[in-house]
Symmetry: C2
Subunit: 398 residues, 2 copies
């Protein structure tokens, strides 16, 4: 059987292979990219689902508009407004089947084979693969503790004239980094100056520890003339409510949004109306602020416990920037005093000691840094985190 | 903003424009492609959703495997077995976000720009557009009352060496035609002989009126040596349970299925686990046979009412083959005695009279037949059907 040529650009991720090992009994996993199931507001979601079916089952179970379920679009626009976004109304967003589909639709709408796109190095693995499937050459821009480095980004934009620049400006996956306010404004200026679409992926922004992060690129776009036209924003309920609902959304200029709707029509017709009606009822009931407050507190405590344990158990063998929110800690093996500096080797030793994480190399579209690794502090409780880091220290010493 | 070149191959459908007119008060619509909301087993679905959340909310609301939710894959394999399919186990199918996504994944996996595919003329509009977005040239094979005409199909396969042949063999949309048993076996032989993937889209097969249709290509593949390797089967719960759940499935050989899983990972990660867990509980509870029995009876009565009314009101101005199931009646304007023979003109007059349908031309990827039109008998009750057909007769006379 002869498959489409586009499949030659992508391989099934090495991470998937690693995940198969996670079934080992007693393993402590820092490998996942998901929220803790124990954080789900099951009662609230169940109430919302029942309300969706009681109020209008005919709507909730029928085909719906490709753009999304009207009441959910209203609720999502209102949710964005609570986060400082101006002038985003229901008509300015479409509902997607998770924000992964927003990325897929952007790829389908924007990328012709051979086109270039710029992403952060490191970035979300599935974004790299998603864009490569549409034939993109994926260029990597370097990041530091304050997010993507602007001088390097501008140079790459000027050199490559990319179809789009993809960023996770807030609590990046896997970097944990947050783009500074100053850099955010500059990114918007670059978008206008070079007429380049900037895609802001923001699944983690609500999960801050102490203080809210800088305003999103979308919220700031009202301050940079013309930038709204060159900005696409991807939102998601996966990390803050439930990934299983598969509710994401895409905000973009009217022309791009219309193209995305056309592509979505032939991708999955529309996102589950049942899931959409459930999410709409949940938001309408006003549960979200309490749910978010609980998550922030729990994840902050876990992050601090993990950072403390890493310093205590691994000392100068590792370095990391403290994340201010999100789910991830991005760690560099320093190799100090001849200690292990290859995260792939460490990953294997760690599995033997009963702890798992994801090596950092696959998160780079170019120039992988094998000394890096991603730890999620989201799904293990604080005792498990302490025990897991102790095992990691044993693996380093083994 | 410069979009991807693939968008040049597709335009937003003319049908969408027509649908905007359906909001007119008092209009009777034969235009939809959806089941009647009044047929939904709301109580059964609500019970299933609650059970999914009560039994294991952590699973139902969390990220899930791209291949699909295990218990649903088991239930779908069992459902297929009740329909005569042999040797289809949970591992042989993946869950898709509606069967539209199965088509999208097949396009992504199989079609390189410039490749050819063969479809029936007429066929499901969104299939044509979906494949064109991947750069396919979509060739049209003629159909008669017994489905695609085999001599013509073989000639087209030999001439064009297509990447795939897409068929709706049972109660076709829009043709209403059912491929005969003899032709089914011959299609499977052609697949093997020409090493051509045949895609069987089967959303309507369960909705027969009197007797079950011939066995599906999938069920028959065990009788034609080697044909299972060259067959992909798309199933859906949209017409028999609820479109709003967005649950479809794809059955194919292991190699193709693995490629489809990889593409799905970057399309939407997975189908809503909440919707999947709900569907799994519904099937497990054993409600499906009663639900299907009820739908068959109601749709059969409506189809017969519509056919009777057409003969009584429009006489020799129209001709059609009696469908044995499904949702659609495919009508040809005969032009007898100088009567109107252009369905686009009739559609406009019909809207003025308060009745809507979809003209047939857009369902053809090549050589559109402007004298055809599609009537759905699924969503209007029998009184409305009689009134709607009477209005159609007025429109013909106007």
């Amino acid at each position: 059987m002869q498959f489409a040529k586009r499949l030659d650009n992508v391989e099934t991720s090495a991470i998937r292979e690693l995940f198969k090992l996670l079934g080992k009994p007693g393993i402590i996993s820092f490998a996942g990219g998901f929220p803790d199931s124990a954080m789900f507001d099951v009662a609230g979601i169940q109430e919302a689902a029942n309300k969706a079916l009681t109020e209008n089952a005919g709507l909730a179970l029928q085909y719906g508009a490709t753009e999304g379920f009207g009441p959910l679009r209203e609720q999502l626009a209102a949710f964005m407004a609570t986060k400082g976004t101006k002038d985003v109304y229901a008509d300015n967003l479409i509902v997607t089947t998770g924000s992964q589909q927003a990325l897929d639709l952007l790829g389908k709408c924007m990328i012709s084979p051979g086109d270039k796109v710029i992403v952060e190095g490191p970035t979300f693995l599935a974004t790299i693969q998603c864009f490569r499937l549409y034939g993109a050459e994926v260029i990597s821009a370097p990041v530091d503790a304050n997010g993507v480095i602007l001088e390097a980004l501008e140079q790459l934009i000027a050199e490559h004239q990319p179809k789009l620049v993809y960023l996770i400006p807030t609590f990046g996956n896997p970097s944990g980094a947050t783009l500074s306010l100053e850099r955010r404004k500059r990114v918007l200026e670059l978008a206008v100056q070079y007429k380049t679409l900037v895609v802001e992926d923001d699944p983690y922004g609500d999960l801050y520890f102490d203080a809210p992060p800088p305003a999103s690129l979308l919220a700031l776009s009202s301050e940079v003339l013309g930038s709204r036209e060159w900005l696409a924003h991807c939102g998601s309920l996966s990390k803050v409510l439930s990934p299983g609902l598969r509710i994401g959304w895409l905000i973009a200029n009217a022309e791009l949004l219309a193209k995305a709707v056309m592509c979505k029509q032939f991708s999955d017709a529309h996102t589950s109306t049942f899931a959409q009606a459930t999410a709409a009822q949940y938001l309408l009931a006003g549960h979200m602020p309490a749910t978010l407050a609980k998550m922030r507190k729990v994840y902050a405590a876990r992050a601090h416990t993990m950072m403390h344990a890493l310093r205590a158990n691994l000392g100068d063998a590792v370095s990391f920037t403290e994340p201010q929110g999100g789910l991830f800690l991005w760690v560099k093996l320093t190799g100090q005093g001849g200690k292990l500096a290859d995260a792939n080797v460490l990953a294997k030793k760690a599995i033997e000691q009963g702890v798992a994480f994801v090596p950092g190399a696959p998160f780079f579209s170019q120039n992988p840094d094998a000394s890096t690794l991603r730890l999620s502090f989201a799904t293990a409780d604080e005792d498990k985190i302490r025990e897991g880091v102790a095992r990691l220290a044993k693996a380093m010493a083994a």
